[in-house]
């Protein structure tokens, strides 16, 4: 069973997407901010990270950079899940090593689940 770390400060999204992922058989760990997320990664083996970009204290970009700079976490696929849709943000995230970039409002729950499955199968 794949372990997913869902870094998202909106509790409602943790409930809807997190809930759907659990229904589909994934093990989901929620982190409401970057520090918590990085601590979880240190102690738990994670297969995939869902990362929001606008987060309290530490932004998604900073978290992504730290993940990719650390030899132990740099190979974990990161799916960006955000409401930002600027070409600049997309390019920056992809250059920094994100696997996929999804704009939340453009995808249904099941479409996000499919993207996650596809990423894990790669």
């Amino acid at each position: 069973m794949a372990k997913i770390l869902f870094i998202e400060d909106e509790a409602a999204l943790q409930k809807t997407l997190g809930g759907r992922l659990k229904e589909k058989g994934f093990e989901v760990t929620a982190a409401l901010d970057g520090e918590t997320a990085l601590n979880i990664i240190k102690s738990t083996k994670i297969d995939l990270i869902l990362l929001d970009l606008i987060l309290p204290r530490k932004s998604g970009f900073e978290i992504l950079r730290e993940l990719k700079e650390n030899a132990e976490t740099k190979d974990i696929p990161v799916i960006i899940l955000t409401n930002l849709e600027n070409m600049k943000d997309i390019e920056q995230a992809m250059e920094m090593g994100a696997t996929t970039y999804l704009v939340k409002t453009n995808y249904s729950l099941d479409e996000v689940v499919e993207k996650i499955k596809a990423t894990l199968e790669k």
Binding site: T16, L17, R20, E23, N83, M87, K104, T105, L109, D110
Partner: protein, 318 residues
């Protein structure tokens, strides 16, 4: 009609009222004032110069004074332009911030509804109907915000388009497949005429698709009851020509020159279809032109419209 428009241009009070700024901050008014100062002082300098030709210092002094007045006026005009530009920038930024902020609750709504509709909890048929209505409206709001964001990017000159090899035929088919049920539901017949083996174009597939979708949806929207939409895709020289003809309400001649303008909606369009932001065609035009293409239309009120665009084929590029 034309002379009336010209007179309107000359009426600075009307122009300044549109900007919603005081007269002394309005560029048009200040330009007029500057013109008046130039004419008056030139005449005055001539008269004074002619009378006191012996007194050269006086003439020089007059020229210096006039030049300083003109400089001050030019400075004020520049400032007022700055203020207008700033107001415009703030408006665009405002749209961008608001749209981004609105997206957060919308994604909550969308996924919350998704969880209910496709979840395990199960809902009654009536509840499912209502949930579908909520879902459709959430989608509509999402589309509107996405349009507003695209427009603010166009205004900020930051709409960056990807450059990929794209088959226009594929995009047309995708759009048709996903939207034709609207047409079928409203008794509209679709005729297709797609030439085989048209080479690809270099474009942003998502944005180009959006442009085609906007044109297609407009055709459906503005057909009263039943009608016909003919879509053709042809190779024309080094270009691909997309054409969509509908038997809809058409665009009155008086509105035709404004049809690609932001937020513009034709009067008869408003009668036919109250929903719409007037952004679709503005976005279409920006996307097509940024892809090095051309867009245009012909239309006859009550008979229908033909919208077309051309894009350079990849093989046609050197």
């Amino acid at each position: 009609m034309k002379s009336k428009g010209f007179l309107k241009e000359l009426n600075i009070f009307y122009q300044c009222k549109q900007y919603d700024v005081p007269l002394f901050e309005c560029p048009q008014f200040l330009f007029m004032a500057m013109g008046a100062v130039i004419i008056l002082t030139t005449v005055a300098s001539y008269l004074i110069g002619a009378r006191y030709i012996v007194d050269l210092e006086l003439v020089v002094l007059i020229v210096v004074v006039v030049t300083s007045i003109l400089l001050v006026l030019a400075f004020i005009i520049m400032k007022s332009f700055e203020r207008l530009a700033e107001a415009n920038r703030m408006k665009t930024e405002f749209v961008s911030i608001v749209s981004h902020q609105l997206r957060a609750p919308l994604s909550n709504l969308r996924w919350g509804l998704d969880a209910l509709i496709t979840g395990k909890e199960g809902v009654t048929d009536t509840q499912a109907d209502y949930l579908e209505i909520l879902k459709e409206n959430t989608a509509r709001m999402t589309k509107m915000i996405s349009d507003l964001l695209t427009v603010s990017r166009i205004d900020q000159n930051s709409l960056n388009l990807a450059e990929e090899e794209v088959s226009v035929e594929d995009l047309v088919n995708q759009v048709l497949n996903e939207n034709k049920f609207y047409a079928e539901a409203t008794n509209i017949k679709i005729e297709l005429n797609i030439e085989k083996n048209i080479p690809p174009v270099s474009a942003d597939p998502i944005q180009l698709r959006l442009a085609i979708e906007n044109l297609f949806n407009n055709s459906i929207k503005y057909i009263k009851e039943k009608g016909v939409i003919s879509i053709s895709l042809l190779k024309k020289g080094n270009n691909v020509l997309f054409e969509i003809k509908d038997s809809g309400v058409g665009i009155p001649e008086i509105d035709q020159k404004h049809i690609f303008k932001k937020f513009f909606r034709s009067k008869n369009a408003l009668r036919q279809e109250t929903q719409g932001t007037g952004l679709g065609l503005f976005i279409c035009k920006s996307i097509i032109e940024k892809t090095n293409g051309k867009i245009g239309f012909t239309s006859q009120e009550n008979e229908g419209s033909v919208f077309w665009f051309t894009l350079p084929l990849k093989t046609g590029q050197k």
